[in-house]
């Protein structure tokens, strides 16, 4: 059972020394209660207080870092089963896999692709996260030279090393040991050797077992060896086994029922033979590291888009900056369409305007990210806002006409907007999909 902030506060030194980075012991206690701080940050706790607090205040899913430098990524510290209960915090790393049997040219090409490829969506650059190198050759030397090939590209990407033979890790870590690679995987047979590497290089370690009992046993063994940054590979035989194990791990972790399962989850998307489906399920069902073969363009974009969608904070609508946006090359006679700064509204409308091939101005007003319907209901979208936005963004210098198209759902405001702005208001369709037809038929009649 989790402790409340005040119960935790009682165990703290109450010195308000700020050495933990928080202004007071009480604010530190509140962070601990929310699973947002580590007990170790307080230098004055005795061992007993630490052990009481440690078990109940550490984040239910441990935060683990993979890689170093600009492209390193953080995973874990998740608190919910459903994103709508709060949010998912740390998007899974999606890493492209290469085999050490591939030629150096091929390995280098995949590395450069992950280094360079990026898609911009909703103002954010989406990228793949790193490179997984697998020792399929069975030779430690070949493995090491594949790892060296990856590192030679100077991509500084988080690496995953996949091998069975400790000798292979030993040889590969010479090339990337200081870049905090993720090691895959410790099993019941080899965990002591694997823990040795993890400790020596300070890197996170995947533990692999086909049952939750097996994972718990391994987690205990590895912790006893002194390795704390663990990642769980539930070794699913099929997609059903993945959903079932991953959902149980998450639920048992966030309820703190089985602390040994309080680690991020690893998924090898290639293993079930249904890579795309595994990717989707990894993203929506709690995987934090997903290894996949290099993806075709369609899957690449779809997977990064899905990851962005699912890891968007549902409590904060993504907003556009208010302003006057151009679609195509509008001139002084082009239509002006007003709408809200909810990003989804913006991008949906923009897409349909583009496909209509009618150059337009989009006047985006600040409704704090509310959609048209809710902004009208809440009074956030009103004639004053429209008047001020027209003025602020100098719309009257851009067009010679004085006609403003407003969203169908804002039609109750049309009279008041006309009065406040002096512009003629045209009520557009409710559904953005109909904007093309509207521009081609209604607007032409007006113009």
């Amino acid at each position: 059972m989790a402790l409340k902030a005040l119960d935790i506060y009682k165990l703290l030194p109450k010195k308000n020394c700020k050495e933990c980075g928080d202004p007071t012991c009480l604010t530190f206690a509140m962070k601990l209660a929310g699973g947002k701080a580590d007990v170790e940050l307080c230098p004055y706790l005795d061992e007993q207080a630490k052990s009481v607090l440690g078990a109940t205040t550490r984040p239910p899913v441990r935060l683990v870092k993979v890689g170093v430098g600009e492209r390193f990524f953080k995973i874990g510290e998740e608190t919910v089963l459903y994103r709508h209960e709060k949010t998912f915090y740390h998007p899974p790393g999606i890493l492209f896999r290469v085999s050490d049997m591939q030629s150096a040219d091929e390995i280098a090409a995949v590395t450069r692709r992950v280094r360079d490829e990026s898609f911009t969506r909703v103002g954010t650059d989406l990228r793949f996260s790193g490179i997984a190198i697998e020792n399929t050759s069975g030779s430690a030397e070949t493995f090491a030279s594949a790892v060296a090939t990856v590192e030679k590209q100077q991509a500084h990407l988080p690496p995953v090393l996949i091998a069975k033979d400790p000798a292979a890790f030993s040889a590969a870590l010479v090339h990337c040991g200081s870049y905090r690679p993720l090691l895959h995987a410790a099993t019941a047979e080899n965990y002591q050797a694997m823990c040795g590497f993890a400790k020596q290089h300070g890197c996170p370690l995947v533990i692999r077992a086909g049952s939750l009992d097996g994972l718990v046993r391994l987690a205990k063994d590895c912790m006893a060896e002194g390795v704390q940054d663990l990642i769980l590979d539930p070794a699913p035989e099929n997609l059903g086994a993945f959903i079932s194990r991953s959902a149980r791990i998450r639920q048992l972790a966030i309820t703190r029922s089985v602390p040994e399962l309080g680690y991020p989850v690893y998924l090898d998307a290639t293993l079930t033979g249904l890579q795309d489906a595994a990717l989707v399920l990894g993203i929506v069902k709690y995987a934090s590291v997903i290894v996949t073969s290099p993806l075709a363009p369609g899957s690449a974009k779809a997977s990064l888009t899905l990851r962005q969608n699912i890891y968007t904070d549902p409590q904060k609508p993504i907003q556009m900056n208010p302003g006057l946006y151009r679609v195509g090359n509008p001139d002084r006679d082009s239509p002006v369409l007003m709408t809200v700064n909810f990003s989804l509204t913006f991008f949906t409308l923009e897409g349909y305007i583009e496909s209509s091939r009618v150059p337009c101005f989009m006047l985006i007003v600040d409704t704090e990210g509310l959609s048209v319907l809710t902004a009208v209901a809440a009074g956030k979208l009103n004639e004053t806002l429209v008047r001020d936005s027209l003025k602020k963004f100098g719309v009257d210098n851009e067009v010679t006409h004085r006609k403003l198209i407003i969203p169908g759902y804002a039609s109750p405001l049309s009279g008041r907007i006309e009065e406040a702005t002096g512009w003629k208001v045209l009520v557009g369709p409710r559904d953005a999909a109909e904007i093309g037809e509207y521009l081609h038929e209604e607007w032409k009649k007006q113009a």
Binding site: Y82, R83, H84, R121, G210, S211, L212, D213, G214, V216, P236, E237, N238, L239, G240, A241, I243, S244, R245, A247, R248, Q251, L252, T255, S257, V258, L261, T272, L274, D276, A277, V280, L281, I283, V284, K285, A296, P297, G298, S299, K301, A302, S303, T305, L306, Q308, N309, I310, T312, P314, L344, F347, T348, G351, E354, S355, A433
Partner: protein
């Protein structure tokens, strides 16, 4: 031993029957019963609950249909009977969803043609049908009446009822024992409200399928995804007004920028990826009917659903 994860569910998703075979008074080759779930989708091994069903969408007025599908299917789209038959025998869909989009033409009034389209698809395939009718108050009543009558005894799924217009559909469903798709704009409370409205005019719970409205991936899909999860969650927690199966139709997928502007050589692949990613995620959230427009998406979904239903025989859970 690791204890079993406790979720605290108590509810069951209502079963809804789609299609009627000869023994049930219809002419369908198969019928399905969806619903019946008592946990998160795919969490438990449950051989009795079916995989999500895959519905292939066709229409009676191809000029309004996606150019991508028209290019891929070719002349087929101009022959409704052949198109539906191909969806059944070659694309291997579980259901056919017929969009009567001829009714979206201005001043449409050819009601007999609507009945004929339904009849055409009914005789071309032995699969259960979803019929998507008009969205125009002036003709709704006649259109749905005609659809209902033409499909009498076939346990159709009629769409789409919304809070602003549900009476015509409900009347046709009640008169001829069909089920209804109830669509609300990505909001669990509005979904519940509409179900209550339908209940009040006599539509039984086992005749309702919820459509929470699916935004395309990248265009609000996350809202739909969470709406589906919330509906399933509320249902499992015991809210019977939300305990109906969910249908997912990301109808805008083929018109989004990523697909429209893809390299022509890659366009089909991108479209299929987009439909597929949406369909798998929706199924994981709780959707039990996944609608697609690209034929190539069907086989991929089917293979993935089989693996999602599977478990290892060794146990270890």
């Amino acid at each position: 031993m690791v204890p079993d994860a406790q979720f605290g569910w108590s509810g069951t998703i209502e079963g809804v029957i789609l299609g009627a075979t000869k023994s049930d008074g219809g002419t369908r080759r198969v019928s399905y019963r969806i619903g019946g779930g008592t946990t998160l989708p795919f969490l438990e091994e449950d051989p009795t609950s079916p995989s999500p069903l895959i519905a292939f969408e066709v229409c009676d007025f191809p000029p309004f249909w996606s150019p991508l599908v028209k290019d891929y299917c070719g002349d087929l789209v101009n022959n409704l009977a052949e198109w539906a038959k191909t969806a059944d025998t070659r694309y291997r869909a579980d259901l056919i969803r017929l969009h009567l989009n001829s009714t979206r033409q201005r001043n449409f009034s050819d009601i007999p043609a609507v009945g004929k389209a339904v009849e055409t698809v009914l005789s071309a395939t032995g699969l259960p049908l979803i019929i998507e009718g008009s969205n125009e108050p002036k003709i709704d009543s006649e259109v749905f009446q005609r659809c209902g009558e033409t499909g009498q005894g076939e346990r159709l799924l009629l769409g789409t009822a919304e809070a602003s217009h549900y009476r015509s559909i409900a009347a046709a469903a009640l008169a001829y024992n069909h089920s209804v798709i109830a669509q609300s704009p990505i909001d669990v409370n509005l979904a519940k409200q509409l179900n209550i409205l339908l209940k009040e005019i006599g539509v039984q719970r086992d005749h309702i399928v919820i459509d929470p409205y699916t935004g395309a991936l990248g265009y609000g899909f996350e809202y739909s995804y969470s709406a589906m999860e919330r509906i399933r969650f509320a249902a499992l927690k015991g809210d019977t007004d939300l305990a109906m199966p969910i249908i997912c139709s990301a109808a805008d997928t083929l018109t989004i920028k990523e697909v429209r502007e893809a390299d022509p050589a890659m366009q089909d692949a991108v479209a299929v990826s987009w439909e597929f990613y949406t369909g798998i995620a929706a199924a994981a959230a709780g959707a039990e009917i996944i609608c697609v427009r690209h034929p190539e998406t069907i086989g991929m979904l089917r293979e993935a659903f089989a693996s999602m239903k599977a478990r290892n025989s060794a146990g270890g859970e």
